[in-house]
């Protein structure tokens, strides 16, 4: 393919759309058409995105990308913008290409004001080489998939590259020491921060230290938006001099923290054009992204799916959700997208689940059960087969709310199984 001349954009679009339609009919994955157009026309993404009047927004970091992207999209739409996004959580560039194929017209034109894209750290670096984002949002750097990235400090360097290639504004989590260091190398007027009030910091275990010795926090820069207070579903945010009191539909304090990130970003994009009432209205309407604290109803009882991908995320999840009154299941796979290394389970403290949980499942169910054994958390049933475990979990815990902590591919498989039992939103 290397020597073939690049096809004109409408042709790439036509071919890409055809492949997309063919894969859809076959019930295939969402990435293949993206891979296809990337291979015949490496400029496809930049050609489609370069003409957007408000440019491109890139969201990256270890945890919270999908949830935050969804929030930013809905907040911008609430302000009247037409937004393009890659909402499948396929945060590779081919996922962006695939999403574009769905949204562009036959000429390869995208009718949108702005694009909001989530990309993992490695793909974000690849992406900024061809498309310069006008805004970027850096959420956090945590130990995750070190079997892919090698070291957490390497991951931080990737995000520094993203920040350097951002033309206008980089929005940074000032609570993350590695990102704070990255931001301090950027011109001051290019950076906006979001953060936490000091009273909330204990609710967020630091990633560097699972054993509760919080990192020393030096003087933090002033943040554009701060999460001041959380009580149940009510949160108070500061935004510049203003205070916003918001009743959220989101579960888990870490999702609330993601919404501060979203507020800071949206306010940076819109500046004086921001309508605060519409912002609050849109915030209150936001529901969790699929599998990220997503709430389904099974046999008249709520069932929550909590995606856990790394020690930091798992710890935050356990800290955010009270196991009392809930039946709990944990499902851990070790496919490529989950990370093959199971060491991370040993960097999470499970004692809050004592005396015990109902089910453990997934390819690495026994690794998970072993982990729980060493925290003296009882497990009623261990069954590696996900569908069977799910049905057993629902059967034995009738009349009770349920919660499943699941790794990425386990989450996808469980949603497929759940769609046979209840209404599950299709994300494609």
């Amino acid at each position: 393919m290397k020597h073939m001349p690049k096809p004109p954009l409408p042709l790439t679009t036509l071919l890409g759309k055809a492949v997309r339609e063919a894969t859809r009919l076959r019930g295939g994955g969402s990435a293949l058409p993206g891979l296809f157009v990337e291979s015949i026309d490496k400029d496809f993404i930049s050609d489609c995105l370069s003409k957007l009047p408000q440019g491109v927004v890139l969201i990256s970091g270890t945890n919270g990308k999908t949830t935050t992207t969804k929030m930013v999209v809905e907040l911008l739409e609430g302000q009247g913008l037409k937004v393009f996004t890659n909402r499948t959580g396929s945060n590779f560039t081919r996922g962006v290409a695939a999403a574009l194929l769905g949204d562009v017209d036959m000429m390869g034109r995208l009718t949108a004001d702005i694009a909001v894209l989530e990309l993992d750290e490695a793909h974000a670096v690849k992406f900024v080489q061809t498309v310069k984002p006008r805004y970027s949002l850096l959420l956090n750097v945590m130990r995750d998939q070190l079997d892919r990235f090698g070291e957490i400090d390497t991951t931080a360097r990737l995000l520094r590259t993203v920040a350097e290639h951002t033309s206008d504004i980089v929005v940074v989590n000032r609570e993350d020491p590695r990102l704070l260091a990255v931001s301090r190398e950027l011109p001051e007027d290019k950076v906006r921060y979001f953060g936490l009030d000091a009273s909330l910091r204990p609710a967020f275990p630091s990633d560097d230290d699972m054993r509760g010795r919080g990192a020393e926090i030096g003087r933090l820069p002033k943040a554009l938006s701060v999460l001041e207070e959380v009580k149940g579903h009510t949160a108070i945010f500061s935004l510049g001099p203003k205070k916003l009191t918001v009743t959220l539909k989101l579960e888990g304090v870490y999702n609330v923290f993601n919404s501060v990130a979203a507020i800071a970003l949206v306010s940076s994009i819109l500046g004086d054009d921001l309508n605060p009432d519409k912002l609050v209205g849109a915030l209150e309407a936001i529901t969790p992204a699929f599998g990220r604290g997503e709430k389904l109803t099974v046999e008249g009882q709520p069932l929550e799916l909590v995606l856990v991908k790394n020690p930091g995320g798992f710890r935050l999840g356990l800290k955010s959700f009270d196991p009392d009154g809930y039946a709990t299941m944990i499902a851990i796979n070790d496919n490529y997208a989950d990370g093959r290394d199971m060491s991370w389970l040993w960097d999470v403290d499970f004692e809050s689940l004592k005396p015990g949980i109902s089910h453990v499942s997934g390819i690495r169910a026994y690794d998970m059960a072993l982990r729980l054994q060493y925290d003296e958390v009882e497990v009623a049933t261990v069954d590696p087969e996900l569908g069977q475990a799910l049905r057993g979990f629902i059967r034995t815990n009738g009349g009770q709310p349920k919660r499943i902590y699941c790794s990425y591919t386990a989450m996808l498989a469980l949603r497929r199984e759940l769609s046979k039992l209840t209404e599950v939103e299709v994300v494609s």
Partner: protein
């Protein structure tokens, strides 16, 4: 009163990654289950090195973490060597395994001095060796874990490997060995965490410690069904 065992975790602040805590936790719990009262001591740079230690456990770190402990490690080296000579059981994984050797030479030629407990040297390699790994050890049988390192380690005279590779890259991706053994010290690149899925090594550390301090060790029967099943699954997984 249960007999005590003093367990030292070396540098938990800077050398504690990929489940190194799992090794400490496993020794703590299994000591309890065998009828002892484990007492955890933590040593970080600049701290007071505790006396009367029965088991030493150390892990790996980011490059930055290794830089932070390097000077301090050389300071406590005589104490560590005295413990080794006294047959104290120890387990060192990845970063501290490398620094228990003579030196680590980085890719750009910078040399980090080790404490020389193992006669071995490590050289920064061109690529990371990452994936599931299985080795066969004459003492412990099949050892199952996960490796993630770019350092290539070569054993010198007088040091035995921990085991021979069945699957994975091991010490250097060139010879067929993994880890190192001397006296009652085990060095290895295996995370996983290593001890939960290889309880034979955990019990060996505890037995050595108990024999040394109390002159006897009567193991309890521990339910290791999950460990056995997790081992079986791990063996079947791709690299």
């Amino acid at each position: 009163m249960k007999p005590k065992l003093n367990i030292l975790q070396l540098y938990p602040r800077d050398m504690n990654i990929y489940g190194d805590w799992g090794n400490v936790l496993t020794v703590m719990r299994r000591s309890q289950w065998h009828g002892y009262e484990p007492v955890l001591h933590e040593y970080d740079p600049g701290g007071t090195f505790p006396d009367d230690i029965d088991i030493v456990i150390g892990g790996g770190g980011q490059d930055a973490g290794q830089d932070r402990i390097q000077e301090d490690l050389l300071k406590i080296a005589p104490k560590l060597r005295a413990l080794v000579d006294d047959d104290t059981p120890m387990l060192v994984i990845c970063g501290l395994y490398q620094l228990f050797g003579n030196f680590f030479r980085t890719k750009d030629g910078h040399e980090i001095k080790g404490v020389g407990i193992f006669n071995l040297e490590t050289h920064g390699g061109p690529e990371r060796m990452i994936g599931n790994i299985v080795i066969k050890s004459p003492e412990f049988g099949d050892i199952i874990g996960y490796e993630n390192h770019s350092g290539q380690t070569f054993l010198g005279e007088g040091v035995q490997p921990l085991g021979k590779l069945t699957k994975g890259a091991g010490n250097n991706g060139q010879d067929e060995f993994e880890g190192a053994r001397i006296r009652n010290v085990v060095g290895s690149y295996l995370h996983g965490s290593l001890l939960p899925k290889n309880p034979a090594i955990a019990d060996w550390l505890i037995e050595k410690a108990a024999m040394k301090r109390y002159g006897e060790f009567t193991p309890s029967v521990i339910e290791d069904r999950f460990a056995q099943l997790a081992r079986k699954v791990a063996l079947s997984r791709p690299r």
